[in-house]
């Protein structure tokens, strides 16, 4: 394709299409029992999307309850060390400590409009579970969160937090007992209780309309960033970076920049023990097209299409799939997908803690680790925005354990 047509393609970008496809990715691969519920959800979402009351209420609560806008902070010592001008989008300062809350606020407001009184969610790191439990407490809804038994162990503080908020946490022992199994179990619950239950998915994955809807609720990240960087630098950044699990903080950050083709968008997946070790969670870098959890997208699987166990030091990235829109943007070359290992993420974690007095989530530490390693390869003095998707309090146990310290 010629450059000029490429550019046009992005000027008029408005995927997904009416069937929920981003190119060949997306769709609705679910049991028939759920199809009417997905149609109902899509119709309800389309209605509120253009409803000025809903938009006002969403904006108001993002401001007064979540604490938005989150600052765009120029990290001076980090910039000096890496030889660029680095700005951090401080999603870690949101209420509940991560970007996840933007989406849960939107979806819970939608559930209320739909008259659903029972909310279910899946969670990996526990951040989406905490955000969902928080919103359910705020609006007086019943909340049940599915969480892999292994994650219940490694994210114990978040489990306790959810319980304090009045949610029921259900440990999932089936399969590999991590995020994908929590999602299987949440889907089974939804299939069984679909008439009174709202399934609040925590990332830009799952059957249409979830990838589109979650992106829309998260795009506030990129919209604010754009205004903030224009205000402080009077120009757009050269690079915008985000870590990629399912892809919600990345899509929320990238989406408003898609048309600005001079801005390079970079997503960092979790390379675990290294891509070649096979023990990682980098779906785009190391996987191929497949279908899981209602969507067609890049997927980590064996030759026969069975899903393979993933590994990442960060529970929030430990998932074999990735949202369909990122798969599409990666194929089209609009987003560059790279990866960082556990070790590189830990270096990023330490670097930000020491240089800026900010303890990042292990998920966000992946983009910091990547930046640390590749800063020299980027054009000198680049303006770089990095989405600091969450804070690291929840990861203290994990990091302490690696240093053989018991808290």
């Amino acid at each position: 394709m010629k450059k000029s047509t490429k550019k046009n393609q992005w000027q008029s970008y408005n995927l997904p299409n009416h069937l929920g496809y981003f190119g060949e990715y997306g769709g609705q691969f679910v049991a028939e029992t759920l199809m009417p519920a997905l149609n109902e959800l899509e119709a309800a979402y389309k209605k509120i999307r253009s409803d000025s009351h809903f938009k006002k209420e969403f904006k108001r609560l993002l401001k007064d309850y979540v604490g938005r806008p989150s600052p765009l902070y120029e990290a001076a010592r980090l910039s000096q060390k890496l030889g660029h001008r680095i700005f951090l989008k401080r999603e870690d300062l949101n209420h509940t400590g991560a970007h996840k809350v933007n989406n849960t606020l939107g979806q819970i407001l939608l559930a209320l409009k739909m008259g659903k009184k029972r909310i279910i969610a899946e969670t990996g790191a526990g951040q989406h579970g905490v955000a969902t439990a928080t919103m359910c407490a705020r609006f007086g809804l019943s909340c049940e969160v599915y969480m892999g038994a292994e994650d219940v162990q490694r994210q114990a503080p978040n489990v306790f937090r959810m319980k304090l908020l009045g949610a029921k946490v259900i440990a999932v022992h089936s399969g590999t007992a991590t995020l994908k199994d929590a999602m299987n179990e949440a889907l089974r619950d939804w299939i069984s209780n679909v008439s009174n239950t709202y399934y609040c998915i925590g990332t830009v994955a799952g059957p249409h309309p979830y990838p589109m809807m979650v992106r829309d609720f998260q795009k506030i990240i990129g919209e604010e960033t754009k205004q903030q960087i224009l205000k402080s630098m009077n120009r757009l950044p050269d690079y915008v970076m985000a870590c990629v699990g399912g892809g919600s903080n990345a899509m929320g950050m990238f989406y408003p920049f898609i048309k600005d083709t001079q801005v390079k968008l970079m997503g960092v997946e979790a390379a675990g023990y290294g891509i070649r070790s096979g023990k990682h969670a980098a779906a785009i870098v190391g996987g191929r097209l497949g279908v899981l959890h209602g969507q067609k997208s890049y997927l980590l699987q064996d030759a026969e299409g069975q899903i393979i166990p993933t590994h990442s030091i960060s529970a929030g990235l430990d998932y074999p799939g990735v949202g369909p829109e990122l798969s599409y943007l990666a194929d089209q070359g609009r987003v560059q997908i790279v990866s960082a290992t556990d070790k590189e993420a830990l270096e990023g974690f330490e670097m930000l803690s020491h240089l800026e007095g900010i303890i990042p989530a292990l998920e966000s530490s992946h983009s910091l680790g990547y930046l640390k390693k590749y800063a020299k390869k980027l054009k000198k003095n680049s303006v770089i925005v990095l989405n600091l998707s969450g804070r690291g309090d929840k990861d203290l146990n994990t990091v302490a354990k690696l240093q053989k310290i018991s808290l």
């Binding site: 049991a31 028939e32 759920l34 089936s174 089974r188 008439s195 279908v291 959890h293």
Partner: protein, 263 residues
């Protein structure tokens, strides 16, 4: 006309309902699966559904999850299932359909999958997470190869979905008796379900009702509401209890009783 269609024609002539049974191929191993098929055939089962195991069966309850897991552990894959069916076809012409999730088929190659079905004697496929609007291409490929593509409907199905499924279905329509996953408890409101009523008005195809049927009495009652019943989890639980290898003999009296009740 493939074996499924022939079977329903025959049953209609005899004014009989169909007994369809589901087992996971390769649980606990494919040798036992082969023996089980013979036993089901000899004891009055009309159609065998063979589960293709998947690591993440999101519409299945614990019984079929465990069964899929055992099948995967015994090294079951699509090629081995096809080899087993080819072998079975030397002894029986019982209609066989493969049931499972989309990803293993997508990776195997949809064309290759249905060509193989046709060549070994598989009569149809039911892909749980491939609703008709996503399955247009697959439907064409199945058709070209003489295979039925079975779709599901459920109590939640609205008139629009019922119309869409009926337009695309072949072989028979699988009506899920309850809003839930496999292995759940049968609900008593079945004959009042408006989706089932509308479905029967809309389609010429046979309607088989499944999910939650565990006893001969339930099978008899449920079969009267459609053209047949599907039994899965109850049978698999029995196979599990009998440690597999002895299962073909152990299930025969039970299946015989159910078949008698249905026919």
């Amino acid at each position: 006309m493939n074996r499924i269609e022939q079977k329903f024609k025959l049953l209609k002539e005899k004014n009989q309902k169909a007994l369809v049974t589901f087992i996971s191929a390769g649980d606990p191993d494919l040798k036992t699966t082969e023996e089980l098929i013979y036993s089901l055939d000899q004891n009055g089962v009309d159609i065998v559904e063979l589960g293709m195991p998947f690591s993440d069966p999101m519409a299945d309850g614990p019984v079929i999850q465990r069964s899929s897991q055992r099948a995967l552990q015994s090294g079951t894959n699509l090629n081995k299932i096809f080899t087993t069916v080819a072998h079975v076809r030397k002894k029986t012409q019982i209609p066989i359909l493969l049931m499972g999730y989309y990803n293993p088929i997508l990776q195997y190659g949809e064309e290759k999958f249905f060509k193989k079905c046709a060549s070994v004697g598989v009569d149809g496929a039911l892909i749980v997470d491939l609703p008709p609007q996503e399955g247009k291409r697959v439907k064409e490929i199945a058709q070209v190869n003489g295979c039925s593509l079975i779709f599901l409907l459920a109590p939640t199905s609205d008139p629009e979905r019922i119309k869409l499924v009926c337009k695309n279905a072949s072989g028979f329509i699988y009506y899920v008796s309850l809003t839930g996953i496999t292995g759940a408890k049968l609900q008593s409101d079945l004959q009042k379900q408006s989706a089932l009523k509308l479905l029967k008005k809309t389609t010429q195809l046979p309607v088989c009702i499944g999910f939650g049927i565990k006893t001969a009495e339930q099978a008899k009652k449920t079969s009267q509401l459609g053209d047949g019943v599907v039994i899965g989890s109850a049978l698999i639980e029995m196979i599990e209890k009998h440690q597999g290898k002895k299962a073909p003999q152990e299930i025969s009296t039970w299946i015989k009783k159910i078949a008698k009740a249905v026919h």
